[in-house]
Structure formats: structure tokens, C-alpha cells
Amino acid sequence: MNLAGRLTVSAFMHDPITMGGVLMMIVLGLGVVGALFYFKRWRWLWREWLTALDPKKIGVMYLGLASFMLLRGVADVMMIRVQQATSVGASHGIVSTDTFQQVFSAHGTIMIFFVAMGFMFGLINLIVPLQIGARDVAFPFLNSVSFWLYASGLALINLSLVIGSFSPAGWLAYPPLSELAYSPGVGVDYWIWSLQIAGLGSLLSGINFTVTILRMRAVGMSLMKMPIFVWSVLCAMALVIFAFPILTATLAMLALDRTLGMHFFTATGGGNPMMYVNLIWSWGHPEVYILMLPAFGIYSEIVATFARKRLFGYKSMVFALGAITVLSFIVWLHHFFTMGAGADVNAFFGIMTGVIAIPTGVKVFNWLFTMYRGRIKFATPMYWFLGFVFTFTIGGMTGVLMSVPAIDFQVHNTLFLVAHFHNMIIGGVLFGYFAGFSYWFPKMFGFKLNERLGRYAFWCWFVGFLVAFMPLYILGLMGATRRLDHYDASMGWQWLFIVAGVGVAIICAGIGFQLLQLAVSIWKRKANQDLTGDPWNGRTLEWSVASPAPVYNFAVLPVVSERDPFWEAKEANQAYGLAKYSDIVMPKNSGMGLIIAGFAFIFGFAVVWHIWWLVALALLGVIVSIVVRASDDDTEAIIPAAEVQRLEAAARARRQTA
């Protein structure tokens, strides 16, 4: 038996551009490790962060990793844009076809699973317990396992850059191309296992937050008094619960095909590749809404706060969220009208897709009427919201166009489609998370982000987005299909690809401004301090506590009687009262989540490379760690009432200096 499986020295050999990426990663990694040694921060890192069970800290770690992956995803974009702008006629661009295909597959996978999902779970962790008036999530340890599984998947996908290669089969790896017969290397296996591990984390988070929202709300907060963001998360988590098991099963079957020679999705042997396409989109379409719904929730919170008015049509909004949740499960076939399912089937799924536009349209009208007769303050989060209204409506329109099967036949798999979903995911999802990030940033760190630089970042993103994607719409109508590493000069496409590249450069400037904004805001944090805990004149419970929020969130668990409880309390001059404090029980930190996910990472790596003894060892490690953790009965610590008293008094003093 070969102890190293199929791992050989050649796995470390790459073309120059990939080598550059590898070197950058290694330098960055060494830099971080070096800094930790230099500043003697290892113990701090372990105690304060790596073992943290506090959802606010886990949220910050999600956001940190997601931001890092955003940079990686954007680096991939730059390569795609340069390649497509230069690989014309006699020139074949800057990278080989194989590398190019790995790059766009990695780009899609990373942006959805590790950027969008990371931002989403980060914000959910930070805000949901605070908004429902809870001190924690339902299962704090499970939450840490979820996060570390996400981190493991993320580590595995980055490792594919260094050892071996990534999947060249697109972000959803359609078989039979992704089967062993056509993709014999380790790339698809890396894709499968990084998603499988991260996806398991998402599934556990879905369970966790469903229970948190349904079982841990403040006294008096009935379902119809929940903040709308919490509603949007509840709907998204319901989608996670029903959709992610399908992903787990589908990935498992593809893995069984590839590792044990089964015939689920193989072209021959009785396999059925079309079944994969159906299964993956039964997960994939709900996934779109898993990302989208929380962003809708964020926009709703922001509009109400900055218009200083109650959210208009709350019940309509909740009903619309519910309708979208249900409908998102019966539209999956619109991703492959071109499979030849027949007119009746195509028409049904086309009409259902159109129907989703109804509740979505209602939400837009409700946002507009929230601002109507309000007093709108244009802080950075509102800029993202307004940008969203314009880009998302355009994306919605092109989506409605593609819901008509006969139109879809002409634009499916073209850059028109690529432009459409970027319209939804950048203009809809990402803008929403950026808005939420700057909105809730003070709650995380106790100071606001620099407004001016935030606006610069927004303008670059907004203009860059239009400049980058309008040409793609045009290219799609010119017959340019997606994922081309090369095309003929006679097509007349090149100048539009160059314009799109300029758009990406403008977006990069936006990212530069965001990094600068973060740096300047940290540098001048004293000037932007949020002493009150309520920097935006907020409406919901998260603004009733100090910024940054204390570890226990609420010294005294709130009792709620209104929909915007903090706003109402302020109106009635009862926002801040004195209270008698008692001991608070909080979970103790635990490194076991990190350890379990570490074994999962080793497991993933070993399966990819067929190192079977290590697979067995890693599995054993997972099982033993779970049993050890389950046997640990000493998992809680007490924060004495006196300590709570001290922290709350300090917060009150800070508020009074403001």
C-alpha cells in the first residue's frame, strides 16, 4: 500500500501564475504567524478567539475569513478579465486553458460558499441573538463547530492551490464532465470535500438558528413582533434545513461515483447525469434565496432606521418572505430549460419563476413607502440600499426575461446570464451585506466606520459594477457564451471585454477604499466612538445595549411589547432604567470545535488524495473528540452579579459623557 495515496511531488508543481498565488499565500501565512510570535499574541488568540463560543466573536471571525476570501475571489476575477480581454485570435492570453477553468470554478465556488455564506452567517451570529433579546444561541458549542467546519472547508479549497489542483468543471461541477472518466485528477475531489465540510457547518447552523429564533426570543416577542431581519433569517434557515441535506446527499453520491466506482451520475453504467443537475439545483435555487433573504432583512432594518419611521407593511413583508421561501423550492428547473423537458414542464417552471417576482416587487414598494413621509438620513448604509434598488431592479428585469423559456433558449449559458446573476448577487446580496456591515459595525467594535471613505467605496462599487456587467449583457446578446478561454477576433467582442475589465478595476478601487476605510477608522477610532450604544437612533433591541455589546448581551433579559421595542422605549423615555442584577450563566470557552473541524479537514485532505489510513485516523479523531466533549459536564461559567453591575455602570457612565 502506498502511504501517500496518489500524492506525489508533481502535486507541488504549478505554472508561474499559480506559483505567484501560492507564494503570496505562504508569505501572508508566515507574516501572520510571525506577527503572532513577535507580539506574543498566541495565548490571546487561543483564549479570546479560537476557543470562543460567544456568537459575537464567532460572527467577527466569519466576517474576517469571508473578507479574506473576497480578496481571493476578486484576484480570480482579475485573472478571468485579463484572460478574456487578451486571449483573442493568435494570442492565448496569460494562463493555460486548464488553469483558466480552475480559476473560474474557484471564483464561483469561493464567492458563494465562502464569501456570501460567510458574510451571512457572520452577521446572523452578531445580530440575531441581540435582536431577539437573548444572551446566546441555542447551542453555543455546535455554533463553534459550524464555524470551524466552514473554516476547514475554506482551508481545504485554499490548499488546492498549493497541493494539486482545483476542479476545472465549473462551480456546480456538472457530470459527466466532473466524473472520473473526464476529470481524473484531484480537482473535483477538492471541490466536493471543501463544500461537503463547509456545507455540513451551514446545515448545523441552520438547525441552531432555527431553534434559537423559535425558542429563545424575549418574553413578549411573538412571531409577528420579531424584527424583520430575524424573520428573514428564520426563512433563510428554513431553506437551509430543507435544501442543504440535498446538497450533502448529492455531493456524497458524486464522491461515491469518483472514489468507489458507483454509477449515480456517470454517462454510462446506468448512471443519470440529468438527475445530478436536478438535485444540485433543488439545493441551488433555494441557496440563492438563503443568501438573498437576510439581505432583504438588512435593507428593511436600514430603511426603517434611516427614514426614522416604522417599516411599512410589516405583515406584507413577512408574507412576502414566506411566499418567496416556499416558491424557491418549485423553480429549480428554470436553470436548465434547455434540457428538453417539454413545453408543459418548462412553462410551469417559467410561470412559477415569474410568480416569485410578485412578493419581491411588493417588498420594493414597501421599502419605498417606508421612506415616504419619513426623515431620511443618507448615511453609508442608505447608499448601499439605494444602489441596490437600482441594480437589483435591473437584475430582476433580466431575470424575468429569462423566466420565459423561449427567451432563455437564446441567452442561457451566455454572458447575459452571467451578468444577470451577478446583478442579483452583487447588487442584491453583497450590497446588502456591506450595508449591514457598516450599519452594525459600531455594535461589534464600539466605533463607527469613516463615512466619507465608505461613500467613496460605494461609488466605486456601484459604477464599477455597471461598467463591468453592462458589457456582459451586450456580449451575451452578441452570442458570447460563458467560460470561454479564447475566441476569434472576428467576433468583435474584445473591446467589450476590455470595458468589463475597466469595470473590475473600478470595483477593485472600491475594495481599496473599503480597506482604507477600515484602517482609517481603526486609526481614528477615538473620534468615531459610539458611547451611547445607539449611534443611528435605532429601533430594535441590539441598540439598547452598550457598544461593543457585553459578553452576556443583556444584563437583564428584556421584556417586549412592541414591534420596535427600543424605539418605543425611547419615545416613552424608558429606554435606560436601573435594574437589579443577578448572576449570569454563560458557556465556557472550548477548543473542541476547532479540534473536531481540524480532524474534518484532515479527513477531507486524506480522502482527496486517497490516503486511506489517514482517513480512518481522522474519522476516529472526530468520533473520539465528540465523545470527549459530550462527556464534559463542566461547560458553564458564572459571571457574578457584582461584575455585571460594574460593567453596566461603566457603560452608563460612558453614555452620559456622550
Partner: protein
Amino acid sequence: MSVVRAVAPPDNDKTLFGFWVYLMTDCVFFASLFATYAVLHTSTFGGPGSAQLFDLPPVLAETFILLTSSFTAGLAMLAAHRGNKHQVLGWLMVTFVLGAAFLGLELKEFHHLATTGNSWRRSGFLSAFFTLVGTHGLHISVGLVWMGVLMTKVWRSGLTAVNLKRLTLVSLFWHFLDIIWIFIFTMVYLMGSLS
């Protein structure tokens, strides 16, 4: 019984509810495999189909063993609510042995199929069969490990509130697997043999 309820920790409700939610996700997972099996059960690629391969009597035996184990798991829970530690351990042991016997019979069937040229590599149908039934078997194995660990815990620290919670969860899990098996028995074996 009311006494037991009174000492249960306040987050019992959360855990139990969370476990139900987990079971639902597992249901969706199995539903995906069932759907796959339904699509692939005729994709034999020239190989044998379910009517030629499945032998009902041993599967009926498996079914009875698993149903009985579900019953004994229920008896263990009743004993737990009465606070009778030895009965709990006894019934858990019976359940464990029955579960192991079920798993043994299943592995025997797998072994027979694989050694007679009908492994999961043979066809889409057999891939779906091995995966669906094997995933259930894997769940049974997890249940056995869980039960084993729990037996040592109950033996050492008795019927504490935490152990009672764990017992409730493991018995829920076991009944759930029983229900899944009924579906497998009906859809895979019964309908397969009759077709």
C-alpha cells in the same frame, strides 16, 4: 414521572426541539436518496434487477429484529422514567444486541451481493441500492456507538437529568431509523420483489 420532569434542566426543551429539527434534515437527506433510488431502480445496465436479487425471508427477519429493538428501546425509556437503572441497562443491552444482529444480517447480504458479481459498481440501480440501504446501516452503527457510550455513562453516573435527556434523544433516533427502515423495506424490497 413528574418528579423526573421537575429535575430536567431548563434547556431540555431546546435540545429536544433541536433534535427534532435535525431528524427532519436527516429525513430530507434520506428523501434525496429515496428519490435517487426511484429514478435509478430500473437502470440496471443489462445487469440483474431487484426481482432477481432480493430474497425476502432474510429481509423480513431483519425487519422483525429492528422492530423488536425499537420496542425494547421503548421499554428502556419506560424503565428510565420509573428510575430503574438496572432495567434501563438491561433493555439497552437487548436493543444493542438486536441492532448489531440487524447490522450483521445486512452486511451478510451486502457481502453476498458483492461476491456474486453484483457490487455497487455493477449498475446505477445497485449503486443506489447500496447507498440507500448502506446509509441506513451507517446510521444504525452510529446509534450503536451512541448507545454503547450511553450505557457506560448510565452505569457510572446513574439516571441523572443529563443522561435522561441523552436517553430520550437516542431512543428518538432509534425510532426514526425504524421508520426509515419501514420505507426501505416497502420501497426497495417488497415492491422490488413483487415487480
